[in-house]
Symmetry: D2
Subunit: 465 residues, 4 copies
């Protein structure tokens, strides 16, 4: 047995186990896990450190078109490097279908961009805007033929919002290939109606944002999506669940044995919803959809992570510059919540923020791995190549130092954004070394690679989730 | 104290009490309730009988336009006479707004028709098809000015189905006058989608009717209506609840202290849903919307009646001739469930069918009165003139004989329909005398009045429900 | 029709209705309810007032033996007069069986005492200490023969606490006559164990009282009593429910259609549990069992009253002098929670305190009547003689003035106690006249009778609850 | 890297992962897991087979004293060999404390017996009969000093049944060392009372067994044990949960974040409760406590296994000969359910019976491993030496063949019993090779070892569960 690299003596953590052992790597893959493996040309001393499967970020927006005139400052280079520095080793962004562009063309364009710039392996979700029957009957099958099985739809947003009929058509098509429908669950007509009502009453300050999209908007969309999926037999994954009430709907569906899965994001777990009560421009940093809720909701989400009503944690990385005309938009006197694009950065801070739940004993470190790596890999067909520490898997590993807290500082991050919404929050765990395909890409505070090198991973059948 | 009529020695039952006493009537109203009231020119011996407030049927379709070419055979004369023979003394049918007719014109037309032919006092619900802003801003206020406060909307049916936005606009308008929105809760797009799917698979036989509109269609509509009402602050009454799952949504809303009320109908309480499993033409007799469900659902509805998650029981009287080209439609070989108009007769059998729950000790006789008379009166502003046995109230009384069971026979009924779906069912209680405004209209098996004489009752504020 | 007295023009409220009418009274009973009844020798102008059935206090301790050396200062005279001044017209205290005294002897002694001193009609519950088989087989049947059907048992307190086996024996005996078992639900062994643990840790100050008997003590006892009753088929009434968790058990049982009823008391509805956090002697005023809980619990109880998981409201009147060696015990430096007898006064303030829930629109005035008069009458066999305003019923009426708030002052009360725990609380409704058997006993701030005159009411079968 | 044995090419399954790899074993431990490990003197071809961590049976009665005159026919030799043939590699039986014997003496006696005869490594639970304060203060600490942390108590059975006070004392003592209290949850007094009631009515045939111990007996005991544990802060594990209602209590506790765990056994998962409805002697084969329930209950338990409200699956192996005077007892004409000792065999069939849930897709194979090996190891302090496939762990492995079903036949089993209650049931998975400490003990249908060789494993702190 010869290895290129041995990670020695770390505390290996998987979705089901924890144990101390060595990991032998050759040709970019894990070759063996053992006691006292033979020495190799390169070695990493992981004593007193935790060795985790690299994370999979299955919800991140990269190089998508501007929305409401706002542009995400990251490209595949900066986003993938930031991800790696945060312990993530695989990304699954969206093919955002634009008017007049076929999905097939979109696939090639995004794949080329990612291969050119991403340092991480990647796959894609289809983000479907156009649910006309002809699109469903011709374009979606082309994507299925390429192995893609996850299709994201929106119940809100002009240009994206789908009618019940369109949702049913998409769900039926995805169900036929046993794929998965990802849904942004907020009801669009009621959102619009409520925003207009607030505006008519002159209530357009930023403190009205969360009031404009109250929990019932998300709860009813969640119930509706579950019901439509039930009618079609489609597997459903509700993305970015933000509230106890939406989660209650999901738990209800799971008790009914409906094939419903759910995701949340770190921003919903921090109990900071009360920061949205202000009209100050600073509030814009926390504007994302659905809105961040209160402490009762984040408590419920933590319980859902522990108990299994939530299945994965993603970032929903969608950054906008805080102080820029094509970002959150520089404000000039009075800010109007309707003008602020929804979206937060998070691809690099996802895992360290979630790790606070491990430090607080809300979830075990095994569950942390399951939520952030193993289950996303299984759900989206990347398993057992990704999301696991086992012989034959890609040597995508994150080596964590756990202990003393350090404050989060945007200056330490690697995206192209100009702020973090959670500046100053003390974090008790951090990846100190990230290996991608057996190669150090982040180590001792240094980024050790140039953009590019990421490979498209064709989703395939793994264990059913 | 002088009386025109004394009902002597009956067991008086109200929503809260039972006791034996005499009722003295003068000038059409109850003048006194007492022990050994002085004798009167006319007397009714009610010993061993139960004296109940006459029922209020708050959901019945009378003289509405044809739908899908099907015509209800009853007019205000036959419907009101049948109702009276079944112990009902007040009806609240719909002003069914037709295209090109203002609500004000509809009001006058329906009122005139009812005054000309109904033997019972009546009020109306507005049945709104057209939710354009101008209708809401001009026509609805005219109805509010006439005292009407209940507005019925549909979430399904071509020509009636409302978008979420339209529902919100109506709800907000009704909430502003503290009225009540009645909703037919089935989601229309999904219904249509599912019907088309079944049809594509050649599944159009009558046994597919219930499968075309499964419980989730009603459950999601119920959740949606509750959510939209919550956003607007409107009081909501979900009509004809048919399933345990829809009821679960309502109970959930009530626990949240949302102002949500609910109605069911006898046809959903009989546990006969399995009769819908057949393709035989006989099945058409049971086709109504939502579909009649199984025994587990009817059990849940009985519990809901007992515990309070359901508030009222109405008939949803909407008869079609079984054997007629403009009714359920005579079948010719193969019946297609899409051609059968939805609706059952029930205005005369509502109370005797529900009484079976009293005989089976599922609900008390006091609760029976509350569900069928007192609560409808309170909810729709007819109280304390109707729905109560108390001095000052109209002398609308039903005197019941309780005991030996007799089979229901359509031949004994008084509507203009050609069948009852529940022919042969043994019933253990029946009204033997009905007084309307102190006048015998049904007694000893005879109808004692001619059409007409009913008065429009303007809804007013009663106790809040 | 001739009357001795007419109560004219009041707003009559019953469990199911509200209406304005006159009440004609003759020979102590209600003779008629009508519009414009003929005049009578005596009249009461009740315009702008509410006329309610007199309340029934079905949980009050009167002239029972001292417990832990503490003596209730009231006798049947003062307790019944205080009750009447608070709008209550019937009391159902306990036959507290003492060692060496047969139940038959206890019955005669209590009945004689009550007839001699009570101004109100009364019935009794059997309070059973001794559950030996011979007691159950001989003494209980004697009580059943006298019409008593309600038997109270304790799961805690030395000398009273019953084993599971004893509870089962009593329940089976009561079930055989279709009676009702009332249970004080706190588990005794765990209570004792926990008190000892606190004492070992030196935690005996009054602030430890509520911690000594946490909610789980009541919750488990409630679940246990429900389970044992289920095994025997006995009807169960859980007295003085204090917590959301115990109520959850009861609601669960009701959903299962088990014959379980429940009572709460005003002291648990006021959200004042935090006043128990102090070691000051003042805390002793609020010490009763189970302990008064926090605001979340009282909110849940109000919801239970509105929704029906709670059935009746009683006082659990059990006063001890605050400043006396044979009462709560004068304190001398350090107060020990184990020395303070459990019990609060409340027979006169029960209805006005509960009325605050009507003023706050938590419950309707009809539900108020149901909870405090009609349902207790039905449950304990006093209906339809008591708990109702109907011809033939006893003319036991409370005429209420509703509107301006006035602070509760013990100086205005009529018991023999030296304080009220709720001194100063502003109350918005009050009985201004109380009629017992058609006779004014409390009017315009004056007590108008002398002790005695109350009659024993033999429980009989009323409507089943 | 040199190995004594390589298990080559199997599908390795752990609590969190599945992957194909080789396992290299040296000196009884797993040395490495890798791709194409170097060859070794001994190899096992596991292609197309599943390689699982050997099971841990944490609830089995071995060499305990007779109860009610009934003797378990197995000793440590036959029980451990049977276990190994069924894929189990570690057992955790009970130290059954007998009157007059100290726990320390019991420990030595059981340990000696197990070392002499068991072929499997073992640990022990303390089975406590005597909860006198002096036992708790002196004998239990001796066991804690030996590393034992799990203490089993009974709420029923003469000689074993504990009062609430005794339970609290034991729980507090165990909580102080952060151990775990295992509880047999059936309430004893009510059981006795109900058995006597049935007997008085002459209902002693075997069909009365399940009626004698209805679900409420288990449900209330479960709620009680949870409540008492809550008072003391003890971790609780409810053994052999049999019913949906008991499980509901456990799920409730988990939602409250109480440290409550639960176990079930295969016999409760098979939906065969209706076989208990017969008075035939054959019924005796299924008599165990709590009784086996109906299909609704087993469905609920499967859901609990999938969702996490149940944590482990054990056998509760407690066999009695069917046809023997010192076993279930030979019957002579009329069988009396009171004479049949409770207990079923199951140590060899536990895993194959549970595997049916994998075959039916009720649980994943990963969850199967978690329930039967990983979690028991974590809960009882055997992890990471047992319950895991990882370098450094003992080489305790079960190699399974999955596919064609074969009927269970007692003739193929290895215990000393005379029957299996589930004779003939078709099973779709079976261990074909079992390794204990790297040594084949069961292979190709042959037992390859002689009794003895098992080691006592001292429980230690593993990951917290």
């Amino acid at each position: 047995m010869r290895f290129d690299l041995v990670v020695r003596g770390g505390r290996i953590v998987t979705a089901g186990e924890e144990f101390v052992a060595d990991i032998g790597i050759r040709d970019g893959r894990i070759e063996a896990i053992g006691c006292d493996l033979p020495s190799a040309p390169d070695e990493i001393d992981a004593a007193d450190r935790w060795v985790l499967p690299g994370g999979i970020d299955a919800h991140c927006h990269i190089e998508e078109p501007a929305y409401q005139g706002a542009i995400n400052p990251d490209d595949f280079a900066t986003a993938s490097i930031a991800a790696a520095c945060g312990g993530t080793t695989t990304i699954v962004p969206f093919l955002n279908q634009q008017d007049g562009v076929t999905l097939e063309d979109a696939f090639h364009a995004y794949r080329s961009a990612a291969e050119a710039r991403s340092i991480l392996d990647f796959s894609f979700h289809v983000l479907l805007k156009d649910a006309r029957p002809e699109t469903i009957s011709t374009e979606l099958p082309a994507m299925f033929a390429r192995g893609l099985r996850s299709v994201k739809i929106f119940m809100t947003y002009p240009g994206y919002m789908m009618t019940d009929t369109a949702m049913l058509d998409v769900m039926a098509a995805v169900a036929a290939v046993d794929g998965i429908v990802m849904v942004h669950a907020e009801i669009g007509e009621a959102s619009r109606w409520n925003v207009d009502r607030l505006a008519s009453a002159g209530r357009t300050g930023l403190s009205n944002f969360a009031k404009a999209y109250p929990v019932l908007i998300e709860r009813e969309a969640t119930h509706r999506a579950i019901s439509l999926a039930e009618l079609t037999g489609a597997r459903l994954l509700v993305v970015h669940v933000s509230s106890a009430d939406a989660l209650e709907q999901i738990a209800w569906a799971k008790r009914r044995a409906l094939p419903v899965l759910a995701e949340t994001c770190p921003q919903y777990l921090l109990g900071v919803g009360d920061r949205l009560d202000s009209d100050e421009w600073e509030t814009a940093k926390l504007i994302c959809a659905p809105p961040i809720r209160g402490a009762r909701d984040s408590e419920a989400l933590w319980r859902g992570l522990a108990e299994g009503s939530l299945d994965i944690v993603s970032s929903d990385h969608c950054p906008y510059l805080f102080d820029s005309a094509d970002g959150k938009k520089a404000h000039d006197g009075v800010a109007d919540f309707r003008d602020v694009p929804c979206g937060l950065p998070g691809i690099e801070t996802r895992l360290p923020l979630l790790f606070e739940g491990v430090a607080d004993e809300r979830i075990s470190i095994r569950r942390f791995v399951e939520l952030t790596a193993t289950r996303p890999a299984m759900i989206y067909g990347l398993y057992p190549r990704k999301g696991i520490i086992a012989p034959g898997a890609d040597a995508d590993l994150a080596i964590w130092e756990v202990g003393q807290g350090r404050p989060l500082r945007h200056a330490d991050l690697h995206d192209r954004n100009d702020h973090s919404p959670f500046e100053g929050k003390v974090l008790r765990g951090r990846p100190v070394t990230t290996l991608v395909g057996g190669r150090r890409v982040w180590d001792a505070g240094e980024v050790l690679v140039r953009p590019g090198g990421g490979r498209f991973i064709t989703p395939s059948e793994g264990p059913r989730c």
